[in-house]
Amino acid sequence: MAEKTQQELLQIRYTPPRRDWMDPSVDFEARRGSWSYPAAGKNLTYLGFPNPREWSPADEDWKLPDNWREIIYEGFRERLKKFRSLRVFLDTCVRCGACADKCQFFLGSGDPKNMPVLRAELLRSVYRRDFTTAGKILGGLAGGRELTPEVLKEWYYYFYQCTECRRCSVFCPYGIDTAEITMIARELMNLVGLNINWVMEPVANCDRTGNHLGIQPHTFKDNVEFLCDELAEITGLRIDPPINKKGAEILFIVPSADYFADPGIFTFMGYLLLFEHIGLDYTLSAYASEGGNFGLFTSHDTIKRLNYKMYAEAKRLGVKWILGGECGHMWRVIHQYMDTMNGPADFLEVPKSPVTGTVFDHTASTKMLHICEFTSDLIKNGRLKFDPSRNDRYRVTFHDSCNPARGMGILEEPRYVLKSVCNHFYEMPDNTIREQTFCCGGGAGLGNDENMEMRLRGGLPRANAVQYVHEKYGVNLLTCICAIDRATLPTLMDYWVPEVGVSGVHELVGNALIMEGENERPTDLRGEPIGDKEAASDV
């Protein structure tokens, strides 16, 4: 894709076109840069998903099965029976428009079908025509549309242009959650082989190797050891985290990007320092080596399939409870789906901090604790000593990731941790944080390169808010508790606000933590000189 300039991208008009939205048409060729490549046949074959083939959305013929329409109707009927959410959300929308300008993809593109209400109408119009009395009789007059190949193509374009962030659902007077509609629309498309590779490859990898990136156990170990070498150099302490160790007290699960790529690895180093310091009895697992779950972007069955490993591994290793790292969609799954799907976890114990003795009663059933909850408790009980000035190079702001914010409500814990470990913390404007936070633009499998234009557009509201605090307070670090954020925000920042870097929360914890037996640290976890106060006040 020829990269567009900021000025080009910013020619956004919120006034809709004259053309009626009910006429479907997407010119995929002209819109390169705003859709994702389809799933490679091998991934579908491995997973046993229907209709594996090589094809491109830009082709005229999508090589669908002959009876694709019946398959989708049948799947639709089944899901109407299985999900009250789907029925209620399809039936109750009054088209009040409150959600219209709440989606970052609409705000960044001006494309009216990125208004959550119209995104949902893409499915709703088909539902109306074929599943409601009024629609069967009145057809188009009742807002019904026939499921034609063009409508299906529109589904592909727009349902893979929603990051399932749930921002719209905060503002809807009935809580209509377009993410839920998108999830089910994607399930329907999966039935006829319309999926994207950036989702299906991680899913296939995760099933096979245990993690999205397809990292095999020996490489997993190598990566962890490499990071420990780095830590030894920085702190003088030799850490040797156990892998697949039976009888450990705690199983610790992180998103795979945390032990694979910059800047996630610095967050991972932060976790390891923390655990070393408090002498935690834990183990990593090379089998349950993924916290994230791209099943969430595929189908409910796939969520369950991938998530199975966590409890299974906890049981096999005989741990007492599970601790989870910083990841957004991972926590939506753990918080809202895991126990229902893969529980009950009656073989585990209610998480209890071995250091402070705090029993985390709010996790009594799932038995899985968020690392920010764990660390907050340690700090509150005075068990950690910090030198926040080691983070003085940074003026920090915090990006609430969609899923932890709107599917869980973990808002204060990361802020509490951040304010304990750094001296300069500034919030972005109210309408852009907490439950109103904006998506990074690349969630739900959309964070691939071919979809770059849409990512940059969808990330515009977030970038705009960062730019604001950058100009006002000199903010130069955007922190988050999400691995997808750590993968996509750097690109977004490079494009819109290049002065700002991206990190996880526990990277800053690792920097500031005063550890017994450590040497004077020559650098922070990134290998940069520590606490450069000048640099911070310069920006």
Partner: protein, 330 residues
């Protein structure tokens, strides 16, 4: 265009009742048969609709959390925006249903010429929505005066509050003014706001035109054409006691009014107006965010294929050995 279609339908309805009740004089049909049929359709329809919803299970507990969760004792949690128990949910729902809490959050976004996104709170819709719905409720309750003998205290009390501004004779009801103003505003924004016009369907205009038709005919009767209230009550009492009588002295405007009301009732269960019931069943609002504390059960929890540890160990056996990672099977 879509607005015109809807307006045309309402005009046709007006024509039907004008010809039927006014010209042809089928008073029994429009005064008795149609209202009975409408109420019947309404009751059956709404029950059918709610039962259909209720029969689909709620497989997952998916509240949209709009505030701090309840986790550690010393972090104050937001019980209204992120309730952790039934009592919290009840209060959250009460706020939604009675005060349209989520709509109150509404913002309007603008891209400034300097390419900054600014968000301003925008409560016009919220005000108009409250004005419309509450006046509708008050008017609905005031109508009980026609159907109940003796007239309940609540109704007379409502009338005295609603008629507080005794500006004219007969007393001007505040709710009458508000409902007309609010409906006109809601219609106006649908027509004038380009985004909204783009997403609006004929059905969206139809609901507003129909409600306007009901409200306008009601207001005209009360303040202009002056219907015979005693006769109206006679008809209404006849209907509810199942011994319908058709008084001779009520004129065509009255039949027009109850015809529109009947259409509203009959249309209700098959339209977006079911949001009145749907809001109570919305799983992003009516569930407590206590997911990790209490297990939610999915009645159709499927069996899925998985890649077990044993298979995985077999797949990577040599690599595990080489890396010195402990095995289950040697």
């Amino acid at each position: 265009m879509r607005a015109l279609t809807a307006l045309l339908v309402v005009a046709v309805l007006l024509g039907v009742v004008w010809l039927g009740a006014g010209v042809a004089g089928w008073h029994a049909f429009f005064g008795v048969a149609v209202p009975y049929a409408a109420v019947l359709i309404f009751l059956i329809g709404i029950v059918w609709r709610v039962v259909t919803w209720a029969r689909s299970p709620v497989p997952f507990r998916i509240p949209t959390t709009c505030g701090q969760q309840r986790s550690l004792d010393w972090i104050p949690s937001s019980t209204l925006e992120n309730p952790h128990d039934g009592w919290g949910v009840t209060r959250r729902m009460a706020l939604e249903v009675l005060l349209f809490r989520s709509l109150f959050r509404n913002t309007r976004t603008e891209l400034t010429p300097t390419k900054r996104l600014v968000y301003e709170s925008d409560r016009y819709l919220w005000v108009a929505a409250l004005a419309f719905h509450w006046s509708f409720l008050v008017i609905f309750l005031r109508h009980l005066r026609f159907f109940l003998q003796p007239v309940p205290q609540l109704v007379t009390f409502l009338e005295s509050v609603d008629g507080f501004f005794q500006l004219a004779v007969p007393t001007l009801f505040l709710s009458d003014v508000l409902i007309l103003a609010a409906l006109l505003y809601l219609l106006g924004r649908r027509l004038l706001n380009r985004q909204l016009r783009y997403i609006s369907l004929p059905a969206d205009y139809f609901a507003l035109f129909l409600l306007l038709a009901v409200a306008i005919t009601g207001v005209l009767m009360r303040y202009v054409t002056k219907v015979d209230l005693v006769a109206a009550k006679e008809l209404a009492m006849g209907l509810v006691t199942f011994s319908p009588k058709v008084p001779t002295v009520i004129g065509t405007p009255f039949y027009i009014h109850i015809f529109f009301v009947s259409v509203l009732f009959a249309y209700f269960p098959f339209s977006k107006l079911t949001h009145m019931a749907g809001i109570f069943l919305s799983p992003t609002r009516n569930l407590a965010n206590n997911n990790r504390k209490r297990r939610h059960v999915n009645p159709w929890n499927p069996e899925v294929e998985v890649h077990t540890y044993a298979q995985w160990e077999e797949d990577f056996h040599d690599k595990l050995v080489a890396a010195g990672i402990p095995l289950d099977k040697e």
